[in-house]
Symmetry: C2
Subunit: 90 residues, 2 copies
DNA sequence: TCGATATTTTGATAATAATCGAAATATAAA
DNA sequence: TTTATATTTCGATTATTATCAAAATATCGA
């Protein structure tokens, strides 16, 4: 939960997720789209990985990242809880 | 968007929102529930206010905060976008 | 094996954020 | 008008995060 919100709290990381929505990409391909350096992107990928939002798969010398939105269920659930009016006594 | 995700990226602030779900509260009442000091809570309230997640209303010497979940629409929309498979050519 | 490519890790720095005590502001009550 | 209460603002400190350059790791191709 904490890691999920932390991962989402950065425009670069959210942009990475948006890119991965279109297609799986290697770390290098992801880095190309940004002005920040590769070590920085690697760090962002690590945080996204820790949150479970992306899944790495090694292929030859590349690491291909894919989007995993299933972990967002938890996020949706919390937001829904907050959004819904609380029942008396609950 | 940025301010929204930032506001949600803190357990104390999320707890404040959960409390306000049950009932409107003054800054002092909110602060009672936490170990951190009042200036710190005031700062958290400010960030939540900036994100539009809470609305202050002055009543005598108190400020009563209420939850405003309408701004979460934007958040839901983004999460849904990410979750849904991308259309070809989109 | 050697050199090139892909990615991460390390170590350092700079920017951002959380926290506190003290002071400031505003309102109320005596 | 003085005192008390509610809340915020200020200034400083600490903790966390983003970023970079350089070094390390892993795999490939010649």
């Amino acid at each position: 939960m904490d890691k999920l919100f932390k991962a989402l709290n950065d425009p670069t990381r959210r942009a990475i997720l948006e890119q991965l929505r279109a297609k799986d990409m290697t770390a290098g391909e992801i880095a190309e789209g940004f002005t920040v350096g590769k070590p920085t992107i690697s760090h962002h990928l690590d945080l996204l990985k820790q949150a479970g939002l992306i899944l790495p798969e090694k292929n030859r010398q590349f690491i291909i990242y894919s989007l995993n939105t299933s972990v967002l269920e938890e996020c949706f659930a919390w937001l829904l809880k907050i959004t819904k009016k609380q029942k008396r006594g609950a």
